[in-house]
């Protein structure tokens, strides 16, 4: 259908304009619904919550995944984080700030596969680390009192043997 070849204009928070295929834009459920409501229009859709560089990355992702089928995930299925393919892994090799911006944008734009991917990436940054290492990674302050820390240590003791 001709609609697939149609272009869509998006504007980032700084006002930068991006022109993309409608099919790519529709990876975002938010945009998909907007486009259905607006119908035929040349107007640009403003995205004040998303900066240019981040929008660029998001468009990258959506373009690469444009032909992926829409998967509705069952809530009960076990969540695994070790099924990231090479391209996606490379895509996520960015600094933490960018990664978190991608998460928030995926959330805002309602692009579930991207949200899942970025959340899994953060989960993998937590896995396998000691508490100290986790604190360093995310600049977390240890605000337990000594007694509380002892209490939590005891709570966790059982899993040391497992």
């Amino acid at each position: 259908m001709a609609a697939e070849l149609k272009k869509v204009k998006l504007t980032s928070s700084e006002g930068t304009e991006f022109i993309i295929d409608r099919k790519v834009a529709e990876k975002s459920v938010l945009l998909k619904n907007m486009l259905e409501d607006v119908g035929e229009s040349d107007m640009a859709i403003p995205l004040p919550n998303v900066t240019g560089p981040i929008l660029n990355k998001v468009i990258d992702y959506c373009t690469h995944h444009r032909d992926d089928p829409f998967v509705s995930q069952e809530d009960d299925s076990k969540k695994v984080s070790d099924d990231i393919d090479d391209w996606d892994a490379e895509f996520c090799k960015v600094d933490q700030g960018t990664l978190f911006e991608l998460i928030l944008s995926a959330n805002y734009l309602d692009i579930k596969p991207l949200l899942d991917l970025t959340c899994k990436t953060v989960a993998n940054m937590i896995k396998g680390k000691t508490p100290d290492e986790i604190r360093k990674t995310f600049n977390i302050t240890n605000d337990f009192t000594p007694e509380e820390e002892e209490h939590v240590r005891k709570e966790n003791e059982w899993c040391e043997e497992r």
Partner: protein
């Protein structure tokens, strides 16, 4: 604590910076929902390790829903309740785990605000009183079958019948204590798990869950010796055309047990069947909308094949109940109490919430009043048919044809009469009841009934 408290606290002298940022570090940039989403990917050891890093992360990893999922996935129904899902999981994993020393909260977290972590606590500690009071469902006693058919079945209107269930021996005998004595070691279905009744009972009595696990079992008749003798199908609902399927009929009867706040969000019953729901002990609040009115907070696909009601029962009441008063079409509301049975006409949206510990029986059936609708549903929406075992029915597309064939065998001429009735009475005014139309002259003397015994 909810974010509302933040604004009050921030005017205090010496108010420190929001603990969230120091205690979460860079993770503070994310929303609480997203943080919980990430935690869903961690195994138990990883969660506990993360919880050791800071007070706020300790709060996050202790979020009950995480541990509920972990417990159910790993242990199904094979656990004993220890007050919280976290403790239940840890104790089940290690019998030596000293639950008692960890049951009292020992971490004093101040100045941390999170609506999402606070919400379940808010919902589970708020009573239902503010949502009660409206009783617009008819209550009848001394109701003849004819009156029921004319005023309710044929008009597709709900009614609460108050003097039938009181005659059941179940009404006299069934307490949790009694059921536990007889059936305590039998596995019952509770949502996604199978759990022994005695384990479920212990959970049910002690849980503070906002949306408690709900026991809803369709095989209780077969599993529990003698239980079917404790009740009988009220005479209004005895006529059930799905009986002609015999053993291969779709799921049709359930025992329902659950504590306060358990229940079902808005839905329509399958295959256009009607239902009755009898409360043996406890009480249930019902909210019902007619077939063509979509309840607030419910979203469906165009053909109603997919229904989403994304909120829990309590959340719905907090956020949407007020709307029921605002729209022109109000729902029917009522409380079904112990000893009463409610008739749920086919196609009606309904939501049910237990107001206290409750034990109930429910059945779905096809009477003369909804036979046409059921035939239509089976014929036109085979992909939405549910409840038929895939062993007996590898394809749902054959169900309509088989049903018609069997109807012809057992009730010859019925289908033709039904069609005639539907064709010639498309306008609702002056529509004689289906019963009047279908009665043959000589049947009128016997009183028209479809006589069959319930021993399929």
């Amino acid at each position: 604590m909810p974010w509302g408290n933040y604004y009050i606290d921030s005017t205090e002298k010496g108010f420190r910076k929001n603990r969230r940022e120091t205690s979460l570090g860079t993770l503070a940039h994310l929303t609480d929902e997203i943080i919980l989403e990430i935690l869903g990917y961690l195994n138990v050891k990883e969660l506990l390790t993360l919880g050791f890093t800071s007070q706020v992360l300790y709060c996050f990893i202790s979020f009950e829903e995480l541990w509920r999922q972990l417990t159910i996935r790993k242990f199904n129904g094979d656990w004993w309740w220890y007050g919280t899902w976290k403790l239940t999981y840890l104790k089940r994993s290690d019998p030596k785990y000293d639950v008692d020393s960890f049951i009292k909260p020992a971490i004093n977290v101040t100045h941390f605000y999170s609506d999402i972590l606070f919400q379940p606590f808010l919902y589970s500690s708020t009573g239902m009183d503010q949502f009660l009071g409206i009783e617009t469902i008819d209550r009848r006693s001394n109701l003849s079958i004819d009156e029921f058919n004319t005023n309710y079945a044929e008009k597709n209107r709900p009614v609460i019948i108050t003097d039938v269930v009181t005659q059941w021996s179940a009404f006299q005998k069934w307490t949790m204590k009694y059921l536990l004595e007889k059936y305590g070691d039998i596995n019952f279905r509770a949502e996604a798990i199978d759990i022994k009744l005695k384990n479920y009972a212990q959970y049910s009595v002690n849980t503070l869950d906002e949306s408690p696990l709900y026991l809803f079992d369709k095989k209780f008749g077969e599993k529990c010796n003698g239980i079917l003798e404790d009740f009988f199908i009220p005479e209004y609902f005895c006529q059930d055309f799905f009986n002609i399927f015999g053993q291969s009929r779709p799921d049709f009867r359930w025992i329902i047990i659950g504590p306060a706040r358990s229940g079902s969000t808005f839905h329509k019953d399958p295959n256009s069947t009607s239902a009755w729901n009898a409360v043996i002990s406890g009480s249930k609040k019902w909210i019902m909308y007619p077939p063509d009115i979509l309840p607030p907070g419910v979203f469906t696909s165009a053909d109603e094949s997919e229904v989403t009601s994304p909120v829990s029962l309590m959340e719905w009441h907090f956020n949407y109940y007020k709307e029921t008063n605002k729209s022109k079409i109000r729902p029917l509301e009522g409380i079904c109490r112990a000893g009463e049975v409610i008739f749920v006409p086919n196609g009606w949206w309904h939501m049910v919430i237990n107001l206290e510990d409750s034990i109930a029986i429910t059945q779905n059936f096809v009477g003369l009043h909804n036979l046409s609708n059921v035939l239509k549903f089976l014929r036109e929406k085979p992909e939405q048919i549910s409840g038929f075992s895939s062993d007996s029915w590898p394809s749902c597309k054959t169900i309509h044809e088989t049903f018609c064939k069997k109807l012809q065998e057992v009730y010859p001429g019925l289908l033709e009469k039904l069609e005639l009735h539907n064709d010639s009475h498309k306008d609702k005014d002056n529509k004689p009841s289906v019963w009047e139309q279908i009665k043959k002259p000589d049947d009128a003397e016997k009183g028209f009934t479809f006589n069959f015994s319930n021993n399929d």
